[in-house]
């Protein structure tokens, strides 16, 4: 089989498998938490649409950007290789007439689509519930698609990085956890160029609002959890860097998977 058709077949196989597992159901249920919160907030803050918009952008986005997409990508990204080795099903895949990189690309693409669907549904429901009073405002939809785009790029970039980790390391989940919830949470508040050494910096740079001045709040007065100390990168540069990070780590993952021997633990 050629590379592209092999990737397509692997994608189809793992899309099917990924949808069936209990873990996908569990992660999808996790994505319903912001929806439930949105319903509660809507009831509590009924009529105060400006406040609801601020709650969504400054609070719920923390959940999506700094927790949900990270934990999804950590689990699914490291699973691309680790799952096959732990479950000893790798033999079934690498003894088929498909190039090894096709396995990495197809499986990570399948999982990325699955994650994007979970994130997308959760985001859409929570966003439109919170902003139900403004459904006739066209800016609302532009902002929604921008959020969706940011989270989509986040899913791709994190998945690529964690796929690479999973291909290289035996206990990738620990390193991934330290990176995703340690490094990413801490380094983004460092001054100067240091904060550019994180994926979340570029994602935040693409958010559809920015603080009036560096170090200030966002979306108005009050807490600016998400944008605290952000020194944003220009949007086009941010997208380019995220694309390079995604492509780069996927390419590295493919190369490692092709060259490395994976031995089952006895």
């Amino acid at each position: 089989m050629t590379g592209v058709s092999a990737v397509r077949q692997v994608f189809g196989f793992f899309s099917f498998l990924g949808r069936k597992t209990g873990k996908t159901r569990a992660f999808a249920i996790l994505g319903l938490i912001p929806v439930a919160l949105a319903v509660v907030v809507r009831i509590v803050l009924h009529g105060r649409s400006g406040l609801m918009a601020a709650v969504f952008t400054e609070i719920l986005m923390v959940f999506f950007l700094q927790f949900y997409i990270v934990i999804l990508a950590l689990f699914y990204g490291t699973s691309v290789t680790a799952e096959e080795v732990e479950n000893r099903t790798l033999s079934y895949l690498i003894t088929r007439p498909i190039p090894k990189p096709a396995i990495v690309l197809g499986k990570s693409a399948a999982y990325a689509v699955l994650m994007f669907a979970m994130v997308g549904v959760s985001l859409a429901l929570s966003y439109f519930i919170m902003n139900a009073a403004r459904l006739s405002d066209p800016d609302l939809y532009a902002t929604f698609f921008r959020y969706l785009g940011v989270l989509g790029l986040g899913v791709l970039a994190y998945t690529a990085f964690f796929t690479f980790l999973g291909a290289v390391l035996k206990r990738a989940i620990i390193v991934g956890m330290v990176f995703g919830f340690g490094w990413e949470n801490v380094i983004q508040y460092f001054p100067g160029s240091t904060q550019k050494l994180s994926i979340v910096h570029y994602l935040k740079s693409l958010l559809p609002y920015h603080p009036p001045s560096v170090g200030g709040g966002g979306g108005g007065r009050g807490v600016a959890l998400l944008l605290f100390r952000l020194e944003p990168t220009a949007p086009l540069a941010a997208i380019l860097i995220l694309a390079v990070v995604t492509a780069g780590f996927l390419a590295l993952a493919c190369w490692v998977f092709r060259m490395k021997e994976y031995l089952y633990e006895e």
Binding site: L37, V44, F181, V223
Partner: protein, 290 residues
């Protein structure tokens, strides 16, 4: 009746002796298996070492304004009283390290048994469900107590040794009991918490993510809810916040959150009860396949 005598086999007519602690082999094996993991030794050793001072210093030099308040109060920082011990035992970094050690070293306690269908092996021995769970919980108790009660009590001892008198102990005679009491609370809570998550999947990697993810998510959820509703009761959604609240109560300190500590105890107890119910359902000698 025919007897089998070939190859030296004869039927044993003796009486089976009862083990005093039937769960002890499970505990011993669980601890040994954790230490066999290469990185676990490193992580476990690291859990004893406090935060890296040098990088903190670099960060402080960039953020001097933020830390002036702490530097001004430095004489209060070095005042050794029950608050000092409470700060150590209820610190977020200690909880994080405990979760890391348990997620890596104890996450597979039940998950691996489910994966390899080992429950049948356990229950075909003179071992009940209670013994099985006590054995598994004791593995967690070992690690948690070593990270909490042991250093906590040693700190008290070293305080007395360095002071050269028992004045501190006479001033706060209940302090060692508080250390033991809070360590016991942490042990019981984390034992139920980790075993609950370990019983939910056969995949120990997924359990690792669940263990960490649930812990971190509870904090994120608290942040979100507090931002929306601006009430201290939202701290009840956060595992570390509840542990801090309970710890402050046990050490007789000012509660970090403005609500009665009994609520935090109730939340922690509720998680333990939920865990017990799930474990009772999941730990079966026979697997039913539908």
């Amino acid at each position: 009746m025919a007897t089998v005598r070939e190859k030296g086999y004869t039927h044993w007519d003796g009486k089976l002796g009862e083990r005093r602690f039937p769960w002890w082999p499970i505990t011993r094996t669980g601890i040994l298996l954790a230490f066999r993991k290469k990185r676990f030794k490193f992580i476990f050793a690291g859990a004893f070492i406090p935060s890296i001072v040098f990088l903190v210093g670099l960060y402080i030099s960039e953020r001097l304004d933020d830390f002036k308040a702490i530097i001004q109060g430095s004489d209060r920082l070095l005042n050794i009283d029950p608050k000092y011990f409470a700060t150590y035992l209820t610190g977020d970094w200690l909880f994080f390290l405990i979760v890391l050690v348990l997620a890596y070293g104890a996450g597979g306690l039940i998950a691996d048994d489910l994966k390899h269908n080992s429950l049948q092996l356990y229950f075909s021995r003179p071992l009940g469900k209670k013994d099985y769970l006590i054995g598994k919980m004791s593995v967690i108790a070992f690690f948690v107590l070593i990270l909490t009660a042991l250093p906590g009590l040693l700190l008290v001892v070293f305080k007395l040794v360095f002071a050269g008198s028992f004045k501190f102990f006479l001033q706060y005679p209940w302090l060692p009991l508080s250390v033991l009491g809070f360590s016991a609370l942490l042990t019981v809570f984390f034992a139920f918490y980790v075993l609950l998550l370990s019983a939910l999947s056969k995949n120990s990697r997924y359990v690792f993510v669940l263990t960490f993810g649930t812990y971190i998510f509870s904090t994120v959820l608290y942040g979100i809810l507090n931002g929306i509703f601006r009430t201290p009761y939202m701290a009840l959604f956060s595992i570390p916040a509840n542990l801090r609240q309970a710890g402050a109560f046990i050490f007789g300190q000012k509660l970090p959150f403005a609500f009665p500590a009994v609520w935090s105890f109730a939340v922690l107890a509720g998680i333990c009860v939920l865990a017990a119910a799930v474990l009772n359902r999941k730990i079966r000698s026979v697997e039913v396949i539908k």
